[in-house]
């Protein structure tokens, strides 16, 4: 580790801030308690996960070294391939759909300067603070055979469409995915509203003088202006979708069959139910790498486009 040169710092921090009165060890003393705890309960287990992922272990008997066997299994095991496929589908439901809706919604609200905006903001953000377990209970009741959704369908004469949504091989995945859309949309909208509030009014006035309509205004002014916010929104929601465990645990437990299982659920299932601890660790490590790469990629793309 080298001392990092900081000439580029623009804040004009005091020269040699750790110098004079302070002791050279001072910064380390301030960081040490946090670092020790953080290293013991985050860095060390992370390293141990990488190590464990190279073994076949049932959690009780002796482990056997299998090299990258647990990782190649990610491509060969049907259930795991399905899990990662569903994770991709959930990215659409948790991130892409909310960003689409959020963009239009925030643009409409910004353009209209509607009253009641702050109340609306408070309401759409609400799903973000409700425990996912509670959200799951609420939606499970809505999707139940005699739940709100089926009653609504029956009341408009669409009895043929009613079904046990979460027990259906085809519809359980979108049903669970839409819960994610419900949770994410508010966050994305509020984030984009904040970004759009910063667009100078003159930009809109100039566009209108040029005769631009709402659609052109949306494409040429609003969307490019909130690129940074959109990046943050995508990163947050994609990561949230990949970390979703409680929703699956509570609503479908991955079923029916393996039709809604996701990597994070497979980590739990394999480590604590089916005795495939090494495989679980490998999935966890892969998930971290994917999250890291996606975060990097989304930020790269938005930088290059700017």
């Amino acid at each position: 580790m080298r001392a990092s040169p900081k000439e580029s710092r623009t804040t004009g921090a005091p020269r040699n801030a750790s110098g004079r009165r302070g002791h050279a060890a001072t910064p380390y003393l301030f960081i040490a308690p946090a670092f020790i705890l953080y290293a013991a309960f985050m860095l060390y287990p992370l390293a141990r996960s990488v190590h464990l992922s190279l073994f076949a272990w049932d959690g009780l008997t002796l482990a056997t070294f299998v090299g990258f066997g647990n990782y190649t299994e990610l491509f060969t095991d049907d259930r795991l391939r399905a899990a990662f496929g569903h994770a991709l589908a959930f990215i659409i439901f948790f991130a892409v759909i909310p960003c689409g809706i959020g963009l239009v919604l925030a643009a409409v609200l910004t353009r209209s300067k509607a009253r009641g905006l702050s109340l609306f903001r408070t309401l759409v953000f609400l799903p973000q603070v409700i425990a996912m377990v509670v959200v799951s209970v609420a939606f499970k009741q809505i999707y139940a055979p005699d739940g709100l959704l089926n009653s609504a369908l029956r009341s408009i004469g669409l009895d043929s469409l009613t079904r046990a949504w979460l027990g259906d091989y085809v519809f359980s995945l979108p049903a669970v995915g839409l819960i994610g859309s419900w949770v994410s949309t508010g966050l994305v909208t509020v984030l984009l509203l904040a970004g759009m509030a910063k667009i100078p009014t003159e930009l809109f006035e100039a566009a209108r003088l040029d005769g631009a309509g709402a659609v052109r205004e949306f494409i040429f002014i609003i969307v490019p202006s909130v690129r940074a916010e959109l990046t943050v929104a995508l990163t947050l929601t994609i990561v949230a979708s990949l970390k979703t465990f409680d929703l699956i645990y509570m609503t479908t437990a991955g079923g029916p069959g393996s039709s809604t299982t996701v990597p994070s659920y497979e980590v739990y299932r394999r480590a604590f139910e089916t005795g495939q601890v090494g495989s679980a660790a490998a999935i966890g490590v892969t998930l971290s790498i994917i999250i890291f790469l996606i975060t990097l990629a989304v930020n790269r793309i938005s930088e290059r486009g700017a």
Partner: protein, 271 residues
């Protein structure tokens, strides 16, 4: 900016439509929570606030809520003090390895619980630490420290160096400057951090699920999951329990929504 009346109507329609979409699941669970729990209760009337008391007792939510409070107190207080200290060093001092150390902390914001939970469980079990509040709390302290250090560093960097210089000239030590000047000045940033840490800890599911296999230190969300599995007939009591589990954070949100929204929007890593 002028907007035509028809467009205005359309805008309000959109606003109302999305508000209804957001509120429907919320209202439906609240309404269900007050609905009759069984046929006998249905004969007695349509409004049943006693569901909450019944769910509280049947689901042992007194115990679970107490555990949740205990865990939240441990996580928030420890993570708060440690993050403020670490953030202070990163934000105001320069030292060897600063960048490497800071990136190590940032890593923790991205790493999902799924990536650490497996070895954590087996290692803590070896030490006999599973089924203690520490097994449930300490991994969450580590996660909160990652965010807290990042968040506090940003605050300390934003403080004008002249304030610290003035205090230093007056002979104040580094610790003193932190405690008597910077922390009081940073109350808004610190409040935001506390509120977020509390919410994350209260709502956390995977870590308490795994770390207390006997169920002795089951937090409120876990109590709800367990209640769902055990209580299958009818939905009213389950809904009442769900409302109770969500309520502490939701009330806090309505009281301090600025902190929630600001924290969750600005807390996103943008380096």
């Amino acid at each position: 900016m002028r907007v035509s009346p028809s467009e205005r109507t359309l805008n309000y329609a959109i606003l109302i439509f999305f508000s209804v979409v957001v509120l429907t699941p919320v209202f439906s669970i609240v309404v269900t929570a007050f609905a009759p729990a069984n046929a006998a209760a249905a004969r007695a009337g349509a409004f049943h606030p006693e569901n909450f008391a019944q769910a509280w007792v049947q689901g042992r939510f007194g115990t679970y809520m107490a555990t949740s409070v205990l865990i939240a107190v441990i996580v928030v207080s420890l993570a708060l003090v440690l993050s403020v200290m670490a953030g202070y060093a990163f934000g105001t001092m320069r030292f060897r390895g600063e960048q490497v150390l800071f990136y190590l902390f940032l890593l923790g914001i991205m790493v999902p619980s799924e990536a650490i939970i497996v070895p954590l469980f087996f290692d803590l079990r070896t030490f006999g630490l599973t089924d203690t509040p520490w097994a449930v709390a300490l991994p969450q302290v580590a996660q909160s420290i990652a965010f807290g250090t990042y968040w506090m560093r940003a605050y300390f960097k934003s403080v004008s160096p002249s304030i610290m210089d003035a205090a230093r000239v007056d002979g104040a030590s580094k610790g003193r400057i932190l405690v008597s000047i910077l922390v009081p000045m940073g109350r808004p940033a610190i409040t935001t951090m506390i509120v977020l840490m509390f919410m994350w800890t209260w709502n956390e599911f995977l870590i308490p699920l795994v770390m207390s296999p006997s169920g002795e230190f089951r937090t409120a969300p876990l109590g709800l999951a367990f209640f769902q599995g055990q209580y299958t007939q009818g939905t009213a009591l389950l809904a009442a329990a769900a409302v109770m589990v969500a309520l502490p954070v939701v009330i806090l949100y309505f009281l301090m929504q600025r902190h929630f929204i600001r924290g969750m929007l600005e807390g996103a890593v943008k380096e």
